[in-house]
């Protein structure tokens, strides 16, 4: 099984979604934090998006560009390799997590380094890079504030964008006081729980590491095939530190992140910040092309990672999950995510996108946990409406449910969908929630109807039974949801 081979797409020993959700739902602190966070970001995002009257046109262009890339991925990757190489960089290819970890380890060793600084990257989390480097005696320090909190607490992230959303300020102060000194510059004794003071402590703790680091590791938001330009979009400045100060920069990127041309940035630099942090523009975007003598790293390595992506590409109905630009808008609008939190998904990719990407990356039918994820949804459609590259997550969920059911035909009960449906009931435990779930199921029925395929057997009958319920229009449903859901 892939997820036993050290692949972090699914965390080892993860309970199935319903079991994890059950635990999460009992955690009042987590639920309050999540509710506050998702509501705040959700409202802000709607305002940021409403400012651009051509938003739908931008979304369309974004999805079409991604479609073009996926259909000709081999060609674009070869172009990217040629451009990066011509600009003085080196391009490596990695079939899986093991390849990627080996390549990074050897590159770090070749520099004689035993520590690296890292900027948050889903791809490096997915392959379990930090643990892999640790096994080889190399210390990787996460430099995003939230990732630092998660790493110091020896914890797991709960949100793509704000991974420490499950921690409150007092907990963070305690973690800093207890842990920072073990890993470098300690937190000052008089540390308060003011966010400003906590950020200052992180600045001091990490600055010493930035100034000393010989090697940095980053992910990438985009890489332009025509010019070889790689981009990192961020807020805190730790990304700039990582891509600018060390002598060697290693960037690990999923093969799906390639864009046809530099000019396409005009679409994605409008879509991403507004969808992600709901800002007109994020504080910092770094764009670099190979190496520039006298400015920044002298060595640049770009690692192109497959790790299950080509298998996802092979499924025509699942392929567009690779269009994802990791903005996290779908998480913030998801009623299931809001109640259970990211960690219940047991994967580096939580929320609606995780529910379609995770089972595809590890392979349907190989992990009981991953197979339960496509059922962790009410198919309400909010994720599709929010997605800046128009990924039809509800339709893909239905498709994957069918695949999961097919893969488990010979199993003895309980089948994964039966287990998962229990979770959904749990999530919507109160009568009001239940009523809501039924309305949601109606929308699900509509989605299934569009697909025209077969529908779920067994305990899922409850959902199909709702197909005859009049289908609420998507917009009015969401308006209703905004009132009823709080």
């Amino acid at each position: 099984m892939r997820d036993e081979a050290g692949v972090n797409v699914v965390w080892l020993g993860s309970p199935t979604f319903p079991e994890a959700a059950h635990t999460a739902l009992r955690d009042g602190q987590l639920r309050r934090n999540l509710k506050h966070a998702t509501t705040t970001i959700r409202d802000k995002r709607l305002r940021a998006v409403a400012e651009l009257d051509d938003w739908e046109t931008l979304r369309l262009a974004g999805s079409q560009i991604k479609d073009r890339v996926m259909r000709h991925l081999d060609e674009y990757l070869l172009r990217l390799e040629a451009s990066v190489t011509a600009a003085g960089g080196t391009v490596h290819w990695a079939r899986d997590a093991e390849d990627a970890k080996r390549i990074v380890t050897e590159l770090v060793r070749a520099k004689g380094a035993d520590e690296v600084v890292k900027v948050k990257s889903m791809a490096t989390q997915e392959i379990g890079l930090n643990e892999g480097l640790d096994d080889e005696g190399i210390t990787a320090t996460e430099t995003d504030l939230a990732e630092l909190i998660v790493q110091l607490a020896d914890d797991r992230p709960s949100h793509i964008l704000v991974p420490a959303i499950h921690r409150n300020r007092t907990e963070i102060r305690d973690i800093f006081l207890r842990e920072m000194g073990k890993h470098g510059v300690p937190a000052p004794d008089d540390l308060t729980d003011e966010p400003r003071v906590l950020a200052e402590a992180a600045r001091l703790h990490l600055r010493e590491k930035f100034l000393r680091a010989k090697v940095a590791i980053s992910g990438a938001n985009f890489a332009c095939a025509d010019t070889g330009t790689v981009g990192v979009v961020e807020s805190e400045g730790n990304g700039r530190m990582c891509v600018t100060l060390p002598e060697t920069l290693i960037t690990l990127m999923g093969i799906e992140k390639v864009l046809p041309s530099f000019a396409d940035l005009e679409v994605f630099l409008q879509l991403l910040p507004r969808s992600s942090t709901a800002e007109r523009m994020n504080p910092y975007t770094s764009l670099w092309t190979g190496v520039t003598p006298g400015d920044g790293p002298r060595e640049f390595h770009l690692i192109l990672l497959d790790n299950g992506r080509t298998a996802t590409l092979a499924d025509r109905q699942g392929r567009s999950a690779l269009h994802c630009i990791r903005c996290s808008a779908c998480l913030n609008v998801c009623p299931v995510y809001e109640r259970t939190g990211g960690r219940s998904y047991g994967s580096v990719y939580p929320g609606p996108i995780g529910a379609v990407l995770t089972p595809q990356l590890v392979g349907v039918g190989t992990s009981k946990h991953a197979d339960s994820l496509p059922f962790a949804s009410t198919l309400c459609g909010a994720c599709y409406d929010a997605c800046p590259v128009r990924i039809d997550i509800p339709e893909m969920l239905v498709h994957l449910r069918t695949k999961v059911v097919d893969a488990h035909r010979g199993d003895r009960v309980p089948k994964p969908e039966a287990v998962a449906m229990k979770a959904t009931k749990l999530v919507f435990a109160s009568p009001r929630r239940l009523a809501l779930a039924e309305r949601l199921a109606a929308v699900g029925g509509r989605v299934a109807g569009i697909r025209g395929g077969r529908w779920l057997p067994g305990p899922a009958r409850k959902w199909t039974a709702a197909r005859d319920v009049p289908v609420p229009a998507r917009e009015s449903f969401r308006a209703w949801w905004r009132k009823a859901g709080r």
Partner: protein, 215 residues
């Protein structure tokens, strides 16, 4: 380490196998991309909007006539207590004539520790983007290499009014992809602790912008 040819061959072979449904004769350009989005969302004055949007990020913005630039620079630096200023190669000498403090030249290159010990940096910019309140740096004359505008705790950035363009697409089309480029929209920020926005984590915690009105 050298790239492993066998890995590359296998990844490419997997991609080609996965894309069996794509007809051989289809070219990338055959997949339609409709670019019907607008080049600019701005209707009013771009410089006014730029000033307003940069201020939205809680950066300070001052409009200044060309002739008053030296005095304004000296005023801001002294108000901020800057006595040790990083000056990138190519920064106009005449604009610093009223500044009394120490200057740190980047020729030969300053170490990261020296940058860290400075009080701030002054730079020109390559462009401004009005709609998003963004400053574009491309390491051109008077801007310096990227580390200069990153490590010091204060960044005083001069943007000429004529450099301000309306919107993101216009700015992207004018960029030179071969230059290391940084888009800056306000001071660094984090909302990682209970979604409370805090300005200034790793980049300069203070961003002061001077918009130079060309005379």
């Amino acid at each position: 380490m050298e790239p492993v040819a066998e890995y590359k061959a296998e990844v490419l072979a997997r991609i080609r196998a996965a894309l069996r449904d794509v007809p051989d004769e289809e070219r990338p350009e055959d997949v339609a991309v409709t670019r019907e989005y607008v080049d600019s969302h701005v209707t009013g004055d771009v410089v006014d909007l730029f000033v307003e949007r940069v201020e939205d990020y809680r950066a300070t913005v001052t409009r200044v006539a060309q002739a008053d630039v030296p005095a304004e620079i000296a005023r801001i630096l002294s108000a901020r207590g800057v006595e040790n200023l990083v000056v990138p190669p190519g920064f106009p000498e005449e604009w610093l004539k009223a500044y009394q403090g120490l200057r740190l030249s980047d020729e030969p290159p300053l170490t990261a520790a020296e940058l860290d010990d400075s009080d701030g940096v002054i730079t020109l910019a390559a462009r401004g983007i009005a709609l998003t309140g963004t400053i574009v740096l491309d390491a051109g004359p008077g801007q310096g290499r990227r580390a200069l505008s990153l490590v010091p705790d204060l960044h005083l950035c001069l943007v000429r009014a004529s450099q301000v363009v309306a919107d993101v697409p216009i700015a992207i089309r004018a960029l030179d992809p071969t230059r290391p480029t940084t888009l800056i929209s306000g001071p660094s920020a984090t909302s990682d602790i209970e979604l409370d926005r805090v300005e200034g984590v790793h980049g300069p915690r203070t961003l002061d912008v001077l918009v130079v009105v060309d005379s």
